[in-house]
Structure formats: structure tokens, C-alpha cells
């Protein structure tokens, strides 16, 4: 074994890239769930965001426009979920699963002409002074803008939920929609906005996959990342900071196990491959054993003013 071959600077840099798509999708889904809606369509929204972003970036030559379009496209898809579940009172679990299926099919339809096409690349930021610092410069300060945006988003969501009135209303709607309604808050409107935000975040996560992490379009590019994002929300017991920890832990273990393999570590490969999932399950078990669920009380329940 030659662990010296693993360069910690490059390792951390690639962990940050690897964790970003699931972090974006998970933080969006956390807000949705905080408002009391369970949207299982993250995978479908992510892949729709991925294909829309790729198509727009290729046609306009601008990756940033691509990201914006990916967010809008996925948000539009999530709106269909919002209308079905909030206005037409359909079952959230079934509709969410349907959304995933629709997203997968729609994306392969839109993506047909873009197979094998190269995307314009998103440049790494060159932050004066910081990027030139030894070690940390390469490790932390020479990523593309989306990596920093995703971390900023985590802080923003945390601050929004903790310190703002709107955040309090959103949490109130998620905990008890009847009480919130009795107090005069527009439950359906709050939830629709949360769903749109979750869709946009999932779209950004998907866009990061197709424009930066893989950079190309292939059918099924997300390969289950949306489901991981859903698991991370539970793993994080619906707290923004822990979502970031979960996403980095998951991304970190995935990258680390590949690096260990490449360095020739004498650990069974099958075990290394399974390790991100094993650790996720372990943490979930520990969390439930300690009884700290933190799930919003109205999660997944339909609301209608007449009830």
C-alpha cells in the first residue's frame, strides 16, 4: 500500500466537487420537507435540470446561463408536483415517484440531440491572493463559482429558517398546517414556494453534474444521486448545517474509497465500494436510537382548508 500517493490537497479539492450536486439537491429538499411536503421526485428534477442546463449551455456557450436554465426547468417541473399535491390533493408519495419517472423520460427525450456533444466549461475562480496561498489555495480557493454558491446557500437557508419571520412561518406550516392556517397564513402558497425552491436547487445540482462534474450529457447521468440527497435530509435530521456535513461525508467517502483503491490499499474492494452506504445506514441507526428525529410534524400530509 502506498498511501503517500494520495495527495490530501487534491483529495479535498475533489471531495468538494463530488459533494456539490447532492448538497444542492439536499438543501432544497430540506426546505421542501420543512414546509411539510415530501417530494420524492428529486431524482427526476435533478436530471431534468441536468439536461436543460446542458442544452442551454451548449446553445448559448454560457455555462452560467445553463445553470440558470437548469434551475428554471426543474422548478417548472416541480410546479406540476405542487399543483397536483397542493391544489388537486393527490398523494405526495405517488406523485413524487411519478415525477421521477417523468423527469427521467423527459430528459432522455430532450437530451437525444446532445449525446456526445461537449459542454463549455465553467472556469475555476481565480480569487486574488487566496487562490495563490500555498496548500489551501488549491484545496479551497480555486474551485468554480457553484461550489461556493452551494455553501453560501446552506448558510442562507440556515439563517432564513432560524432568524427570519418568513422562515418561522415556513416551519409553522410544516409543523402544523391547521394551526398555521388558523393564524391566517397561506399554507398552500408557502408550500408551493418551497416546492419551487426545492425544484430549482435540484435543478442546480443536476446542472452541476452535467456541466462540471461529468461534463457531458448521457441518459441516466444522475444515477441515483437524487435518492442519496433524500437520504441525506433524513440523515441531517432536517438541519441545514448537518445537510452540508452529510453531503461532504458521503461525497468524501465515495472519493476516498476510489483513492484508496488506486493507492492499492489492502482492504476488500467490495467493502470500500459499499462504505458510503454502510456509513449512511449506521448514522441513521444511531440517530433513531437516540430518538432525535426532528421530522416536521405535518410531513407528507395533505392540507385542505375545509378539513
Amino acid at each position: 500500500m502506498d498511501l503517500g500517493a494520495i495527495n490530501p490537497i487534491l483529495l479535498i479539492a475533489s471531495i468538494m466537487v463530488s459533494a456539490t450536486p447532492i448538497l444542492l439537491a439536499a438543501i432544497g429538499e430540506m426546505v421542501v420537507e420543512k414546509s411539510g411536503v415530501l417530494n420524492l421526485g428529486v431524482e427526476g428534477m435533478m436530471i431534468t435540470g441536468a439536461v436543460v442546463a446542458f442544452a442551454v449551455a451548449v446553445n448559448t456557450g454560457s455555462p452560467l446561463l445553463g445553470f440558470a436554465a437548469g434551475a428554471v426547468g426543474a422548478a417548472a417541473l416541480s410546479l406540476s408536483f405542487g399543483i397536483l399535491t397542493q391544489l388537486l390533493m393527490s398523494n405526495q408519495v405517488a406523485t413524487g415517484l411519478g415525477l421521477t419517472l417523468v423527469g427521467l423520460g423527459l430528459s432522455s427525450l430532450i437530451g437525444k440531440p446532445y449525446e456526445g456533444v461537449k459542454a463549455p466549461s465553467l472556469p475555476r475562480l481565480d480569487i486574488p491572493v487566496l487562490s495563490d496561498l500555498p496548500v489551501v489555495g488549491r484545496m479551497l480557493f480555486s474551485h468554480d463559482i457553484m461550489v461556493y454558491l452551494s455553501l453560501l446557500l446552506v448558510v442562507a437557508v440556515w439563517a432564513f429558517l432560524k432568524f427570519t419571520r418568513a422562515g418561522l412561518i415556513l416551519r409553522a406550516v410544516g409543523e402544523s398546517h391547521d394551526s398555521a392556517h388558523a393564524l391566517g397564513y397561506k399554507v398552500v402558497r408557502v408550500r408551493l414556494l418551497a416546492i419551487l425552491f426545492g425544484g430549482a436547487c435540484a435543478g442546480l445540482g443536476g446542472a452541476y453534474l452535467s456541466l462540471v462534474r461529468v461534463p457531458q450529457w448521457t441518459e441516466g447521468i444522475t444515477a441515483g444521486a437524487g435518492w442519496i440527497a433524500l437520504a441525506i435530509v433524513v440523515f441531517a435530521s432536517w438541519r441545514a448545517g448537518r445537510v452540508a456535513v452529510g453531503a461532504y461525508l458521503f461525497g468524501g467517502i465515495t472519493v476516498l474509497q476510489l483513492n484508496l483503491q488506486a493507492a492499492g490499499a489492502q482492504v476488500p474492494v467490495a467493502l470500500l465500494s459499499a462504505s458510503p452506504y454502510v456509513i449512511t445506514i449506521l448514522v441513521l441507526v444511531i440517530i433513531s436510537a437516540r430518538g432525535m428525529h426532528g421530522a416536521p410534524a405535518s410531513l407528507g400530509r395533505s392540507f385542505h382548508a375545509s378539513n
Binding site: 500517493a5 494520495i6 461537449k118 461529468v214 448521457t218 441518459e219 444515477a223 472519493v255 483513492n259 493507492a263
Partner: protein
Amino acid sequence: MKRRTLLASVALAASLGTAAFAQDDPTKACFVYVGPIGDGGWTYQHHQGALAVKEAYGDKVEIAYQESVPEGADAERVLTQMALSGCDIIFTTSFGYMDATNAVAAKFPDIKFEHATGYKREHPNVSTYNARFYEGRAVVGHIAGKMTKTNKIGYIASFPIPEVIMGINSYFHHAKMANPDVELVVTWAYTWFDPAKEADAARAMLDQGVDVITAHTDSTAPLAEIAKENGNAWGFGQASDMAAFTTNDDGTPGPRITSIIDEWSPYYVKRVGALMDGTYEQVDSWAGMPEGEVVIGPMNDAIPEDVKAEAQAMIDAITSGEYHPFTGPINKQDGSAWLAEGETADDGTLLGMDFYIEGITGEIPQ
């Protein structure tokens, strides 16, 4: 007349009707694909083969196919459907269709079944076919040995099955002959298709100084990752040519310096032709470069001229049958003798290959 008897006689009449018209009907060749045609690799190439059949025989054949058929119970349903819809020959193009193919073949003895990469031929109407991908690995292995500057080359492996191990051994053996200092890094992705994971695997190896990578997975993601090295690392197209990666973003040649292409067209054209002229027989086909089933794609200018010439010489030698990629002396990983000087590996050993050759570090996952 009872309704059931009525239905039965209608069905009988219908089948007699088809039989009577059968001679005028075009031959119907059907294909079952495991992925989307747009995967740019494995399934795409099988579909190219299907189109070649249409091209070769025009109106005399009819083509039908179904994409993304899951391996397992669904495959049996799809195959039965195809058999009932008048297919004369059905190609099932993934290993996981093996049992379904044999099960459906038992029910339709007049329809020919062709299963790719499998080994079960339980009925006289089931044939199997495969390609000698290790011949292509030999050529890219030689190029990898010559191209590497860090003396570290990589292999993104999918699953520890004989076909993949054969590829790893062939790649390393020829890299080592081209460059005795070369070291091989194998990373197991445990997937055929997961672009993000394939990209991560390529990234892990690049970060550790590997500068030539070949992949045994289906997507183009490893090439996209290698492209980020701006001409300091190289890779190969896998299953399909992947020509989109022939030049880097800055215009320099690479990251795809050549490719191993699965060319199923000659086999498909031959088999459908044999069915039409009545010479069709059950076979167990394992063809390679001589038959044109394994093709090395265009080599680009990142490869020096002398290396191109050597690679071409190896292609010619394999094609003419002069050279077998597994020609002794080759020892197993533990140092025990496998092939003596001049001895070539037999197909049985290759198809069950479960050992690394000497010089590869690490173990095959169990």
C-alpha cells in the same frame, strides 16, 4: 361452437395464413437492447449492427428492436412478445438475458435466438456470440506503455468477471513489454454505467499521477475527466469510437488518442444472410480482429509516428492470425508459470480467467 374453440380456430387459421405467406414476407430480425441506443457505447454499437443488416439486405429484411429492456423477468416477456410478432431471428445483446433467451427459445423452436456474451445453448435454436475484446486491449496497452510519462497507467474496471480480468491482463502485459517500468493501477467501479462515479474513478487515478487510463465501463465520463488535464493525460474510446473527445478544449490532440470499437455488423449480416439462404447453423462464435468484430479506431496525433506504426503492426499481426495477445512466456501473479515460451492461451482458460499475471499489484476482489 364454444367461444374458446372459436378463438382457437381463428388463431389456427391466422397462423396457417402467416405460414402460407411466409415465403414472400421479408425476414424479420429483432434486437433486444439492455440500454438506450444513445449510450454512445455498447448498445449504440449493437444498433449500428442492426442498421447494417437493413443496409445489406434492403427490402428483404425487416428490423425491430426494443431499448432499455431490464435483465430478468421483463426480458422473457419482451422476447415472447417479439416471437409472437413474427420475428424470425432474435438477437439478445446482454449477458443477463441468458436464461430468458433459453427459456423462450424452448417455446418457439422455429425461431432462431442469438445471445451475446453468454455460454448457454440449451436448445438447437440458440446460438451464442462474443468478441475478443482482449485483442483491442493489447493494442491500447502497447500505446499506453509508450505514452505514459509517469510510468503509471490506469484501468477503470467494472465487475470482477473473466472478461474484465482478461482485459486487465492483456492491457498490462503489452504495456509492460513496451515499457518495463510501467505500473498498473486498477480501480473497481462496481457498475457498468454511472457517469459521476466513472469520472470520480478517473479523477482519483489522475490525482495520484496516473496519466493513461482505459475504461471498462460504458460512458464517456472518464474521457471528459481526462480532458481537464489539458493534454497531459490520455484515454481511449471504449466500445464505441467516442470521436467527440479527439481534441482537447485548447485544440491539442487528445484526450481520446484511439479507441476499441465493438463492430457487430459483420456477424449480424452474416447470420441473417445465412438464415435467408438456408445455411443457418447453431454456433458458438468468438470472433475478433480477423473477422472485423474488434476494430481499433483512428489514432490521433498525440501518438508519435513510431508508436502508431508499432500499434498498426500489432493490429496487422493479430488480424492475420500471426500473433496471439496471450503468447508465453507469461507467469501468474504469484510467479508460477502459466504459459511457456511461444505457448498461446486456450479459449477455455481465457473464458474462465480468474487470476492476474505477474507484475500486477493488488488482488482481484472476490
